[in-house]
């Protein structure tokens, strides 16, 4: 997935989970969990949101590949 599309998708998902999260200020390679103060429940909800939007089955072992926007863009089709 294109990095800009990834950013737009994540923005939509975060609107439900952490509406005040300022994704615009987060760099492509920053760890989203730290940058946005996401706990494990928040991150699980992000993964659920990505799965619902793309229908990609995301095994738990792949979670570390979703910690940054760059990683997400590379992982999602």
């Amino acid at each position: 997935m294109d990095i800009n599309d990834t950013r737009a998708l994540l923005e939509r998902i975060l609107a439900d989970i952490a509406p005040e999260a300022a994704l615009g200020e987060v760099g492509d390679d920053e760890d989203l969990r730290q940058a946005l103060d996401l706990d494990s429940m928040d991150f699980l909800n992000v993964v659920v949101g990505l799965h619902e939007a793309t229908a990609v089955e995301i095994p738990e072992a792949d979670y570390p590949r979703l910690f940054t926007l760059t990683g997400m863009a590379a992982y999602l089709p």
């Binding site: 952490a18 103060d37 706990d39 494990s40 993964v47 799965h51 089955e57 995301i58 738990e60």
Partner: protein, 398 residues
């Protein structure tokens, strides 16, 4: 006729404001129904009624600070005006059948919202739609047609949250959160705790290798949305252990401890922008892992987005806090009065652990307990922690 009073949502709550009515005059209510949204120092809280009857009058004005115990509404319970005799009182207290015969006498008010003063001038074209006064006002301010919204309030009424769901500014209006007020409330409750409760503290390290291995396998077989978080295993083990150690589960009031029949487990949730809230998962010891995960997901969402219920803030019999993956190694909890214990889990860290005479690098968590010396002592506390550790070592039995 009975009075519906502003409830206390904690030992240190003195006042609150009604910001939205979720019922109108003439509405039939049953015990447990949500009737109003209160703005408190814990944020916006949905408050339930514990009476059956018909809302006769909404007494409290909107957006006015009222003391705990103030009359919010009058409820026609259908019972005869109670004569001052013990017999009549007993009859009224009995869980009588719903007084259906009174409903015919109640005018149909589904197209009217109340109190009249609050929605004067905002009735407009959408007055035929059932909606709360706040939703009406916000819709008018934002030029939103109420008829276009799907109501989630009682009887399908549009409430402010429905406008928020549509992306309006109502969310901020309804779920306004005052960080200063919350800090003050936490300070007051914790000061009382430190003043009144003779805390003692215990801790032990627990190896989570078996639990996390079991969880990894369980999650591999589950879809994304059905996966469990490690916190759920900690929660389940704690709830089962607490059910077996009643000295740590209950309330200390009026110089004596009353153990609770169920483990209503308060779960501490950090709020964005500061502060925390610890709503209760009712009868947590009777819920399996999936039910606990669902409860946790729901509570975290409502704690942060708004919609916690008053009863969830007052019914906890014990509290558990888990610092999460980026937390510190250990926590020394401050007991929330009138509870008598609080359990804490630090972050899960990879640490050297001796197993079968060898040192291995394994995931380890520091489990801690703060408990009330008026009720228990360190020996019992040690047994409680050991019980939790034993349960976590046998995750397949959780």
């Amino acid at each position: 006729m009975s009075e519906f009073l502003l409830p206390s949502l904690g030992a240190d709550m003195e006042s609150a404001r009604v910001v939205e009515w979720l019922v109108a005059e003439g509405d039939r209510v049953s015990s447990g129904d949500l009737v109003a949204v209160l703005e408190t120092d814990k944020g916006a809280i949905d408050v339930e009624i514990f009476q059956n009857g018909v809302i006769a009058q909404l007494v409290a004005p909107l957006d006015v600070e009222l003391p705990v115990g103030a009359v919010l509404a009058l409820v026609d319970t259908g019972a005869h005006e109670p004569a001052a005799s013990p017999v009549a009182a007993a009859v009224e207290a009995a869980p009588a059948a719903p007084p259906a015969q009174t409903s015919a006498a109640v005018p149909d008010t589904t197209t009217r919202s109340a109190p009249a003063a609050a929605d004067a001038g905002t009735a407009m074209a959408s007055s035929a739609v059932r909606a709360s006064p706040l939703a009406r006002r916000l819709a008018a301010e934002q030029g939103i047609d109420l008829a276009a919204l799907r109501g989630s309030g009682p009887g399908g009424a549009v409430i402010a949250a429905d406008l928020a769901a549509r992306g309006g500014a109502a969310r901020a209006a309804r779920r306004g959160f005052d960080a200063t007020a919350m800090r003050r409330a936490i300070g007051a409750a914790m000061s009382r705790s430190k003043r009144e409760i003779p805390h003692y503290y215990l801790s032990r390290q627990v190896c989570l290798a078996p639990a996390l291995r079991w969880l990894e396998e369980a999650n591999a077989a589950r879809g994304v949305a059905d996966r469990l978080l490690p916190a759920v295993l900690l929660l389940r083990a704690s709830a089962l252990a607490l059910a077996a150690f009643p000295q740590f589960n209950g309330h200390y009031e009026d110089e004596r401890f009353t153990p609770a029949p169920e483990v209503n487990l308060g779960w501490a949730i950090a709020l964005r922008g500061g502060g925390l809230v610890a709503p209760a998962i009712r009868a947590a010891h009777e819920r399996d892992l999936d039910a606990l995960m669902a409860a946790l997901r729901d509570l975290v969402k409502r704690a942060r987005g708004g919609g916690l219920r008053a009863s969830e803030l007052t019914s906890a019999t014990v509290t558990v806090t888990s610092l999460g993956e980026r937390g510190a190694e250990a926590v020394w909890p401050v007991i929330h009065p009138p509870q008598v214990a609080m359990l804490g889990f630090g972050a899960v860290l990879t640490r050297p652990w001796v197993t079968a005479g060898r040192i291995a690098a394994l995931p380890v968590v520091t489990l801690s307990l703060a408990a009330d010396h008026r009720v228990s002592d360190g020996h019992a506390g040690s047994l409680l922690l050991e019980d939790i550790a034993t349960r976590l070592a046998e995750p397949e039995r959780l």
